[in-house]
């Protein structure tokens, strides 16, 4: 398993480098049109709490035991007998004004043209400053890989292959709706409209949106 993980991280790095180059060099930025501005809308009213996304993500990204790129937060609302659970899928919000980017002294974490926040492990020292800075608890240090910081990058290697992120693909009730902010279409567009109508202020200009529970 370890060999495979190393291999994948290797591949990940190669891909990441390619994306980085594309983001930096205007000549190659044409390629980034393919990715455009990916975003995810999570409708918690569709989430059944089955945890498929969590495990699909682990299978895809091989995160260390006990750490997750995406998770389903479970809450208990109300008091017995007027009580119910709440399931809130969450992951990195890919903030444009990302606190993790500011926190990193080594410029190891930065934002691509596509709006995806990535971490370059060749620069990451594993000091954990970004982990502490994230308001969503979306980051962690990978003990299997020199404590370097890891987090969700919308399965950037899958996006390169024109595949949706693993969590999106594996959600049985389609609670995660993936689309392009620059060209919103279909259900994604409808959801985006709905989300923007309820939005007061998006100070971090995030790429992960939640449609909140209609039950209260």
């Amino acid at each position: 398993m370890k060999e495979r993980r190393t291999f994948l991280k290797h591949t990940g790095m190669v891909l990441l480098d390619a994306v980085t180059v594309r983001a930096v060099s205007p000549k190659m930025s044409v390629g980034s049109e393919r990715l455009s501005q990916p975003a995810m809308i999570i409708d918690v009213n569709r989430c059944t709490g089955c945890n498929s996304c969590i495990i699909a993500c682990k299978e895809q990204n091989l995160t260390p035991s006990g750490y997750f790129n995406t998770r389903v937060e479970k809450k208990e609302i109300g008091t017995y007998p007027k009580a119910w659970p709440a399931y809130i899928p969450d992951l990195c919000h890919q903030c444009r004004n990302a606190p993790c980017i500011t926190a990193c002294q080594y410029d190891a974490t930065f934002i691509l043209d596509s709006g995806i926040v990535v971490t370059d492990w060749s620069r990451c020292t594993g000091d954990g400053a970004c982990v502490a800075a994230c308001p969503y608890g979306a980051r962690f240090q990978d003990a299997n890989n020199g404590n370097k910081a890891d987090k969700c990058n919308f399965c950037i290697d899958r996006l390169e292959q024109n595949l949706v992120p693993a969590c999106v693909e594996n959600c049985p009730s389609r609670a995660r709706i993936f689309g392009d902010l620059a060209n919103p279409r279909g259900e994604f567009a409808a959801y985006l409209k709905r989300f923007q109508a309820t939005q007061t202020k998006d100070h971090r200009q995030e790429r992960t949106f939640h449609i909140n529970a209609s039950k209260s």
């Binding site: 455009s36 089955c50 595949l163 049985p172 993936f178 279409r185």
Partner: protein, 504 residues
């Protein structure tokens, strides 16, 4: 552009075509999937897991069925060099794609790229298979009981010790004689004074989990054919048996797998069914369909369960019923409905399916059907049938129910378009036998036994605590027990759920 990337049910798809699309088309295809024409379920083009693994010559793709829970959704396993690497859904299986599987004759090579979600339990099966704590060899206790110390023993030793027994723990200073299976291999009675217990072979009991296909035959061969015991016990009686027997009684034995239709129902009263966890046809179909429709405000449901199960997340209400009191709650609801005159009187008066269909109903109720309440009658407590009235009955008359006709005479349930739902009369058979009968609805209305009444009170109190209007007439003390030992509810005969073949 997205058109070329969409595949529909049963339509062939070309992987190269799928992968050639741009991210735009990809996103569009995904997001439009739920907005397309309802009958044309559009699938997002995607590739299972790592595309590279699918072209890897060391990888085998195995289609199977998940046993993470008893819903048994289909799964697709990626096996590399004999090791199970990943599990995803099986797009051919009706439980994985919200009830719209790909056509069964679609070549596998064309479906490898189709996503087909399964829940977390299915994905996690890899961890069960390779769990370091999974028992793969027999272990024998080497410490005191409860210490948790065991050693590996050989299969031969295990078989010998279980078969013959003996002082199996003498090495720990225990002189206890452990009986072996051989002690059961005798045709002597267990107790000569109680021949119903059978031979000593029945002293061997095997309690198993789910008797999935193949497992039952294998276990029976050992327990019944080899040892000769009748005691092979499954777990169904504490699982789905109540649900199935309820359906069996309700449909007069025609159907045991009735469930609310997740695609069409506007309201579901969920009694002890884990629709977001394990209920067939599975969370990936039943749960997902309910959740999707809940998000669109198309469905409401109430959970009746001691536990605030996963589905309480979206439930209109959660009724934390006391374990074992589900029936009391249901009876209290029926009582409230009757006493507050909230039942569909016109519907209940329809005695058979033909007239019910004419009136636009898909089923009919047996509220008008007569029940024998004659203590000494051999069919006391059962429905009155034509056969009970005839001196020389025909075979068909065994299945013909009776209702009250004009002048309180019994007529066959198909002979009239409407019949009274209330009434208790004495009728006379051809042979002159007097039989006391009452309509099923009357009996339901008159349920008064102490146990039933206490249960109903408990349920009513419960309803009261939920701010539901209470029945008007609740006596302070339980009335005297009556001799009516029948409990034939006025039930509605419904049609089976159309889209989900159930396997249990």
């Amino acid at each position: 552009m997205s058109d070329t990337n969409q595949t529909t049910k049963g339509q062939n798809c070309n992987r190269r075509q799928l992968l050639a699309g741009s991210a735009f088309a990809l996103a569009a295809a995904v997001t439009e999937s739920a907005l397309g024409e309802e009958k044309q379920q559009v699938r997002p083009p995607s590739c299972y897991g790592q595309a590279a693994e699918i072209t890897d010559p060391e990888v085998r793709v195995v289609h199977s069925v998940c046993l993470g829970c008893n819903a048994r959704c289909g799964n697709r396993q990626i096996v590399k060099n004999g090791r199970l690497e990943k599990i995803s859904g099986n797009p051919y299986h009706p439980y994985n794609s919200l009830g719209t599987p790909v056509a069964y004759d679609t070549p596998v090579s064309q479906t490898l790229t189709l996503p087909s979600p399964v829940c977390g339990k299915a994905h996690d099966a890899v961890s069960y298979v390779y769990n370091e704590r999974r028992l793969l060899r027999p272990l024998k206790r080497v410490g005191k009981r409860g210490e948790g110390r065991f050693e590996e023993i050989k299969w031969e030793q295990l078989i010998k010790e279980i078969g013959h027994g003996g002082q199996l723990f003498s090495h720990l200073g225990e002189e206890r004689e452990v009986p072996g299976l051989a002690a059961c291999l005798s045709d002597e009675p267990i107790d000569p004074n109680d021949p119903y217990l059978g031979s000593k072979r029945n002293g061997f009991t095997l309690i198993t989990g789910r008797l999935q296909s193949g497992r039952q035959e294998f276990i029976d061969r050992f327990v019944k054919s080899s040892v000769g015991s009748i005691n092979r016990i499954g777990h169904t009686d504490i699982c789905g048996l109540g649900f199935r027997m309820g359906n069996y009684a309700m449909t007069e034995g025609k159907q045991v797998e009735l469930k609310a239709d997740p695609w069409s129902a506007e309201y579901i009263l969920v009694f002890g069914a884990n629709i977001y966890e394990a209920l067939q046809p599975g969370i990936n179909t039943y749960g997902a369909a309910v959740a999707e429709r809940y998000a669109k405000n198309e469905i409401k449901f109430t959970i009746v369960d001691p536990r605030a199960q996963n589905a309480s997340v979206h439930a209109h209400d959660w009724l934390p019923v006391i374990p074992g009191q589900d029936g009391a709650l249901a009876m209290a609801m029926i009582r409230w409905i009757i006493e507050n005159d909230r039942y569909n009187r016109d519907f209940l008066h329809l005695p058979n399916l033909a007239v019910a269909r004419e009136k636009g109903y898909s089923g009919y109720a047996n509220a008008t059907h007569l029940v024998i309440i004659e203590e000494n009658h051999p069919h006391n407590g059962q429905f009155l049938r034509a056969v009970d009235l005839k001196t020389v009955p025909t075979e068909e008359e065994k299945d013909i129910f009776m209702v009250l006709g004009k002048s309180s005479q019994p007529v066959t349930f198909t002979a009239v378009a409407s019949a009274p739902i209330e009434g208790e009369v004495e009728i006379t058979s051809e042979s002159g036998q007097k039989i006391r009968v009452a309509t099923a609805f009357s009996l339901m209305k008159k349920l008064r036994s102490v146990i039933q009444w206490q249960n109903i009170r408990a349920g009513a109190e419960f309803l009261k605590s939920r701010s539901v209007k209470q029945p008007k007439t609740l006596p302070a003390t339980a009335p005297k027990r009556r001799s009516v030992n029948t409990m034939v509810p006025a039930t509605i005969v419904t049609v089976p759920m159309p889209r989900s073949p159930s396997l249990c």
